[in-house]
Symmetry: C2
Subunit: 284 residues, 2 copies
Amino acid sequence: MLAVTVEITVRLLPIPESARLILASFPSIRDAGNAVTRLIARGIIPAGLEFMDRMAIEAAEAYAHCGYPTDAEALLLSELDGCPAEVEQQIGTTSAVFTACNARELRVARDEAERLLLWKGRKSAFPAVGRISPDYYCMDGTIPRRRLADVLERIEELSREYQLPVANVFHAGDGNLHPLILFDANHPGELERTLAMGSRILRLCIEVGGAITGEHGVGVEKINEMCVQFTEAELRQFHALKAAFDPPGLMNPGKAVPTLQRCAEFGAMHVHQGKEPFPDLERF
Amino acid sequence: MLAVTVEITVRLLPIPESARLILASFPSIRDAGNAVTRLIARGIIPAGLEFMDRMAIEAAEAYAHCGYPTDAEALLLSELDGCPAEVEQQIGTTSAVFTACNARELRVARDEAERLLLWKGRKSAFPAVGRISPDYYCMDGTIPRRRLADVLERIEELSREYQLPVANVFHAGDGNLHPLILFDANHPGELERTLAMGSRILRLCIEVGGAITGEHGVGVEKINEMCVQFTEAELRQFHALKAAFDPPGLMNPGKAVPTLQRCAEFGAMHVHQGKEPFPDLERF
């Protein structure tokens, strides 16, 4: 958008001395969401803190046979790393927090083989979900971690409203959601319904104080939602900034930052369908 | 420069469970510089890693009576914090690195009272130097940590060339130098010589791949050295960026980024004095 990269300097971090993984299953999404919030509030900064809901757990287990508890509504995988004594202490704190948040099963990987097996399920969750649905649409939004449970419940409501299943598997530790909307592009209208639901999820992220991007960019896919996340003044500022680096507009033209004309049309489109422009905005 | 701050969100970090301080004295500035380089290369990230040279040590000891070894050419104070077991391990690694770099005395603060006393000397170093000189000029530049020893030796050479004593006390862990040039503004010409020497130190930071600022800004004081650190194209870009946020130029006008006209005059001034514009640039 603003530059051509000609050189990259990397900062190397030492490989941690030890790493241990803890798995916890929960009877509800809300319990797992609360566990994330409370763990972070305790000052624990895990190397990984991954969330999977029932659909993601079932798909991953069927594919990777990693021993996940398939009766759980939600699962957290938390990896702690550092010097062995510190990791030991943090495993204790993490277990206590998870237990206080109604964790049903609590399992610390006994050895490196079990640690890698438990990770295998998470790492293959996306292709595993691909096996149970002809298509899926992967979202990428970010929310304040304390709103995790609220947002996951709202996504469940949207799933019912749009009649499209959703699998949730994401980086809970940094509030970065990846809802996967399952659909079949061969069914007329289903792709359109999926895209509309995806936009609702992104606007939900904005509502609760988050953003429409996590670890991926805006590109052209989420350019309309930029009209919701930012004010007219902010969008004007983005364009001025872009012009300062690229006066003739040669770098990635038309991406990431919508024109104000486009935002006006996007707002009008929603009104035309007989809805408020952004119906979710006032609800939280 | 670019905005008016109307709101600040702070990120709170938990207070570390434990903190231990280690003091090491060295027979030469080069040994202490090497110790910093090697410690960082070992992957240790101390909470504090402070460097003091002989003049700073003597001034601080005379003022704070904190038990510093006054026969040393350089002193490092390294604080490790975290969980007690990790801190213990890192104290061991730090001691080994310092010993391998010819540390003469190695002292781990026995208790909180000694830790605070050893810090007291470092923290009062600036006012302590103020007691031994009518005026001092405090620089703020940054260099790659591996060049610490080279740069400190060059500063010693500059001290002899300009006949102005220099006390060094700074944050070695992040390569942020704070040479204090001691002078007396009542002696005719001494202020001018001090400013000229300060500029040489900043240009030395640039030569070795560093920057003219560390934890403080450019303002008007270091605006000429911006002409050395950045190319004409970069300076033009800074001005374009500033204009994108502040078209009428109301915010901090004339600060931080020099006009190209000013840079031309700064270069000409050096040529006029019969020197190359920036004599240090080729030496390293």
